[in-house]
């Protein structure tokens, strides 16, 4: 069922970092958006608040439909959207995960000091650009998947990659879900998805995906930073990519099925991209099993790239593994639907949490936080733009229970790509960045222009709201020195 529901939204201030969109019309729950006054001003310009309200219309929603502080206009769900659904009454929506299933971020720490390598960034970045394919090019010729490999990869995720010699078993301990999402069924993945993904494992893609080398330039919680392996001045690497064509095709295949399923189950859709099916229906179960394959591709992808980043450190700077000791700090998913247990109004409930451009942020003591971090909380990785900062946080012990332990995933775009190109017409962004000590390699000048720092909100503002709203706690700030983009 389609509708033209599109009322003027009411917006009520809750406190200095959150707002309520009260339930009305076809909404089944309130919307809650985390933003300060400055961020809220930018949100009023696009349709993302309407999108929060639209998600609140879906059946079986538990708690509010939420927008994290980096929320912006998406397609269907807003980017930065979080919503949980009851397993009996609720729905699962491929649009609430997105095309790039398990797009996510991985952070590596090293034993290297930024000051020692700052002047040797250019050769590292150029080598990295060769070693880790991006843009339109296919993946490396030394990594092609046959169907047998793909089946194992799709069900074993990062563990498959480690078994194939990419990285070490210790890496696995510091990945969300241990690098593999259970319940994956490769038989539900189409021939097309396999065809798209076959040559794309070990590639970053284009758009906002990247691999960035940088360093820790400020520490807010010294005891936590030390525990997760971050030290002032230490070189770090951030990998931001997802499930490539494999995941995009899985999403598209199931969106088409869900258009029909939504009609059959008589679900009201304020936007067709929100099409969905009951979690317990055949369509819902099949989507979750196919989605897990996509998620596992993304875990394997970041694992393979991690291995090539380590090789690049060795090749570009003549190091041995014991010299750099590049370790996985953590790896988070920020486009995913997961069945999780949460305490809501004092009661434990199993819910299917959709995070579309949002990160899980489990608090200290949570059983799913790796042993080594259990008492400090799950690390949360929030990359900013390529000229300023990125942040490392941990889940907050006092996070509001209705948030399902969720946090933002980035800075959020401020300018569309078109406006970014207009704004940079008379500038040479790569040169400006190089002058400020940040070396960029990209498939095209256009990509660099579209992704220039001011195209994004200042991630500091976003993270400050996160910290104030107790969604997560600031641990460290990272600054970029070199970036490769597609």
């Amino acid at each position: 069922m389609k509708s033209s529901w599109n009322e003027n939204l009411k917006l009520q201030r809750i406190d200095d970092s959150s707002w309520r969109i009260p339930r009305e019309g076809p909404m089944r729950a309130d919307g809650i958006v985390f933003a300060d006054d400055t961020l809220m001003e930018t949100l009023a310009e696009d349709k993302c608040l309407q999108q929060v309200a639209n998600v609140a219309c879906l059946p079986g929603i538990v708690g509010p439909s939420m927008g994290m502080p980096d929320i912006h206009w998406g397609y269907g769900f807003p980017i930065g959207g979080v919503a949980g659904f009851d397993l009996e009454e609720g729905v699962v929506s491929p649009g609430g995960v997105g095309y790039d299933i398990n797009c996510g971020v991985r952070l590596l720490s090293t034993d290297l000091d930024a000051d020692e390598y700052r002047d040797r960034m250019r050769p590292f970045v150029d080598r990295l650009f060769t070693n880790v394919p991006s843009g339109v090019g296919r993946g490396r010729k030394d990594l092609r998947l046959n169907e047998g490999d793909a089946r194992k990869m799709a069900t074993r995720g990062a563990r498959w990659a480690v078994e194939r010699g990419f990285g070490s078993p210790e890496d696995i301990d510091h990945i969300e879900e241990g690098g593999v999402l259970d319940g994956a069924d490769f038989d539900l993945v189409s021939e097309r998805a396999f065809e798209r993904g076959r040559t794309q494992l070990g590639t970053i893609g284009s758009g906002n995906h990247f691999v960035e080398i940088g360093y820790v330039d400020e520490i807010y919680a010294p005891e936590v930073a030390a525990r997760i392996g971050l030290r002032l001045g230490g070189l770090t690497i951030i990998i931001h990519t997802g499930s490539r064509g494999f995941g995009y095709q899985i999403c598209e295949d199931h969106l088409r099925l869900m258009q029909k399923a939504a009609r059959r189950h008589d679900i009201f859709l304020p936007d067709r991209q929100l099409c969905c099916a009951p979690i317990k229906s055949n369509e819902g179960k099949r989507y979750l099993a196919a989605m897990a394959c996509g998620a596992n591709f993304a875990f394997a992808n970041r694992q393979v790239i991690t291995h090539w980043v380590r090789e690049t450190l060795e090749e570009a700077w003549g190091l041995a593994p014991r010299d750099h000791r590049a370790k996985v700090v953590y790896d988070v998913c920020h486009n995913i639907a997961k069945i999780e247990t949460h305490t809501i109004d004092g009661k434990k409930r199993r819910v299917c949490v959709h995070r579309k451009g949002a990160t899980r942020a489990f608090p200290p003591g949570h059983p799913e936080v790796p042993d080594a971090y259990r008492d400090v909380g799950q690390p949360v990785l929030v990359p900013g733009d390529m000229g300023r900062y990125s942040f490392v946080l941990v889940g907050h012990a006092d996070a509001p229970d209705y948030t399902f332990a969720s946090c933002c995933h980035g800075a959020g775009r401020r300018l569309s790509r078109k406006k970014a190109l207009q704004a940079t017409r008379d500038r040479h962004i790569a040169r400006e960045l190089a002058e400020s000590g940040i070396h960029v390699a990209a498939a095209s000048r256009r990509t660099i222009d579209e992704e220039f720092p001011e195209a994004y909100k200042d991630v500091t503002e976003v993270v400050d709201v996160v910290d104030r709203a107790r969604l997560a706690r600031k641990v460290a700030r990272l600054r970029p020195l070199g970036v490769i983009k597609g």
Partner: protein, 142 residues
């Protein structure tokens, strides 16, 4: 008969308008190419052909499906779908398209790659019948 890229904060949308359903489909292909590559960098050489046959419940779904076919062809075969030869098209219910996509394999020495397109979405897609023909906006995930 035009396509026009429209501002969208996170992604990109293309506005299509044409007097007929066939022309709208051709504009959709041109709009797609203009996102993926710099269309001013090299003259199109529509030398390869791929036959397509699509059916969908309505015109909106057909257009989205068609664009996703083009995305698949580019992602799996590197085919730049410059133009479309239409044999049969209807954007009424049930919608139907029989056509040959004419294009060429992406060649890094001639073509300037701009960005990868993940998918064409169903977000807010409405096919309008206007005095001048047909008009719609399709949002892409980049």
């Amino acid at each position: 008969m035009t396509y026009r890229l429209v501002d969208h904060t996170g992604d990109t949308a293309v506005e299509l308008s044409a007097p007929t359903a066939g022309e709208l489909v051709r504009e959709a292909a041109r709009g797609f190419c203009s996102i993926v590559v710099d269309t001013t960098a090299a003259a199109p050489r529509p030398v390869e052909g791929v036959d397509l046959e699509l059916e969908a419940e309505d015109g909106e779904s057909l257009l989205v499906d068609f664009l996703n076919e083009l995305i698949f062809l580019f992602d799996s075969r590197r085919l730049l779908p410059w133009d479309v030869e239409i044999s049969e098209v209807s954007l009424d219910r049930p919608a139907r398209l029989r056509a040959t996509v004419r294009g060429e394999t992406f060649d890094a020495s001639r073509h300037v790659f701009q960005t990868e397109v993940k998918a064409a979405t169903f977000h807010d897609v409405h096919l309008e019948r206007t005095a001048a023909g047909l008009r719609t906006v399709v949002v892409f995930d980049l």
